[in-house]
Amino acid sequence: MKKIRALASDLSEKLQLPQEALLGAAKLSVTAGRRVLIENHRGILSYGPAFIAVSTGDAQISLNGKELKLLAMNREELLIGGEIQSIVWG
């Protein structure tokens, strides 16, 4: 399975196709340090006003900040608002 994913990843890079569309890879968008949109997430691991951890399947996105709040959430997307201080992907 891992081999197939790696192959698909290589293929998408060579064909210059967006990985989030082809592989369902997570995509993180930050707007003005106040709003974070995570697409293709795999669920919330931890939730609090100062720290939110989101699973992307093969990695974890950790958001640190103040007054963090989950504004909206559905199967694919997750919108977080608040004062973002740091984002760690890994």
Partner: protein, 392 residues
């Protein structure tokens, strides 16, 4: 509250559990939308969701070992439930809606556009005769019939149309343009004297003059004939055309009183109110038969509704009663009357005023102002000859 939330209904819930995040993930998988998430502590979250998804959230909460408590419900069926407890409010709302719906089937406002010479009152009266007035049931109106009847009632109209939108009728009229008098060159005519006077000059362009400068003529006397006699041929009839300048004299008398009564004030101001429901007036004051001598009455009507959009059959009438005291003045009105007489004389003649003289005669309680004026004006009056006249 947002309109969407008010319509569909929103529940504010508190989620308690060792891992409330697991419930969030389960909700996301089941396409259960949560918003306004708020962390109370490490084990407690608060969120909003639609009413209809509350049962699904409870099911998921059981699987994720969480507890769901509803904190508040608003909008949707809850609003209806609230109305059920307040039956009179519901009844009032339904009744108002029914009345609004019923009243929109009647005309409560009539706007007339496009009139110039005709008065709005005359058009409205004619419309009322055709069945279009305040309170008319507009679905029963037939615009074609109204148009036909209106054109018969008011011959000055060229065409008209009635447009009904809601409870407002807009009547658009177009007045008939008078056909100009056509100049018929081949029609025989003669020139008569319009007024009595002494001829000063004649400029005859067609026809034969019967008078000469210095002659005195009476009103109606023939000045220029259209019959052209010939020694060798039978008489020929032409269309006489001439300018006839003559001196004319006028004597106009106006009467004015020695003293005039005027309103001294303004005095105290009173307000009276009334309601007009359809055609029925309900006075909101007592003693309605009280005479209003010594008062100026100014009436304002405020129809209920949105201006230009719809009107209700209810209007508030405000009457302002301004008290005044009658006073008497003996100012010299005669001096004002002289120039007014001269102005009116000039307006009535087709020429100029050569000289004028004013005289005042004092009566018992009146003053007689007499204007004697000499004018120079064109007294030519064209009269077409009938075929029989021309033949004779």
């Amino acid at each position: 509250m947002k309109l969407r939330e008010m319509l569909y209904g929103v529940s504010r819930v508190e989620i308690c559990g060792t891992l409330p995040e697991s419930l969030l993930n389960a909700c996301a998988k089941q396409a259960l939308n949560l918003w306004d998430l708020e962390t109370v502590d490490a084990f407690t979250l608060r969120a909003s969701l639609a009413h209809k998804q509350l049962n699904l959230l409870r099911e998921l909460a059981v699987k994720c070992q969480c507890q769901v408590t509803v904190l508040r419900r608003s909008g949707g069926s809850d609003s209806l439930r609230m109305l059920r407890r307040r039956m009179w409010l519901l009844f009032g709302a339904v009744l108002t809606a029914a009345l609004l719906l019923a009243s929109s089937l009647f005309i409560w406002e009539i706007q007339v556009q496009g009139y110039q010479k005709l008065s709005e009152g005359r058009i409205l009266r004619a419309l009322a005769d055709c069945g279009v007035e305040r309170g008319s049931f507009w679905p029963s109106l037939e615009p074609d019939q109204i148009r036909s009847r209106m054109l018969l009632e008011l011959p000055e109209l060229a065409w008209m149309t009635v447009r009904v939108s809601g409870c407002r009728a807009t009547v658009l009229v177009s007045e008939r343009v008078e056909k100009p008098e056509l100049y018929q060159e081949d029609r025989a005519a003669e020139i008569l004297a319009k007024k009595t006077g002494i001829i000063v000059s004649l400029a005859v362009r067609n026809g034969r003059a019967l008078v000469s400068p210095g002659d005195s003529v009476l009103a109606g006397e023939r000045l220029v004939t259209g019959r052209m006699d010939s020694l060798s041929h039978p008489p020929r009839y032409v269309r006489a055309d001439a300018d006839v300048l003559a001196d004319t004299w006028y004597e106009w008398t106006a009467v004015c009183p020695h003293a005039q009564i005027y309103k001294r004030g303004p005095g105290s101001l009173h307000h009276r109110y009334a309601l007009k429901l359809g055609k029925t007036r309900i006075n909101l004051y007592g003693n309605g038969k009280k005479t209003l001598d010594g008062y100026d009455k100014i009436v304002h009507e405020y129809p209920l509704g949105i201006r230009g959009l719809f009107a209700l059959p209810l209007s508030l009438i405000e009457e302002r009663l301004q008290r005044y005291e009658p006073g008497e003045t003996t100012e010299d009105f005669a001096e004002e009357i002289g120039p007014r007489l001269e102005r009116r004389l000039l307006e009535s003649i087709d020429g100029q005023l050569l000289s004028s003289k004013l005289s005042l005669v004092q009566g018992n309680d009146r003053i007689y102002v007499t204007l004697r004026g000499q004018c120079r004006e064109n007294i030519a009056l064209l009269r077409e000859l009938e075929e029989e006249q021309a033949a004779s």
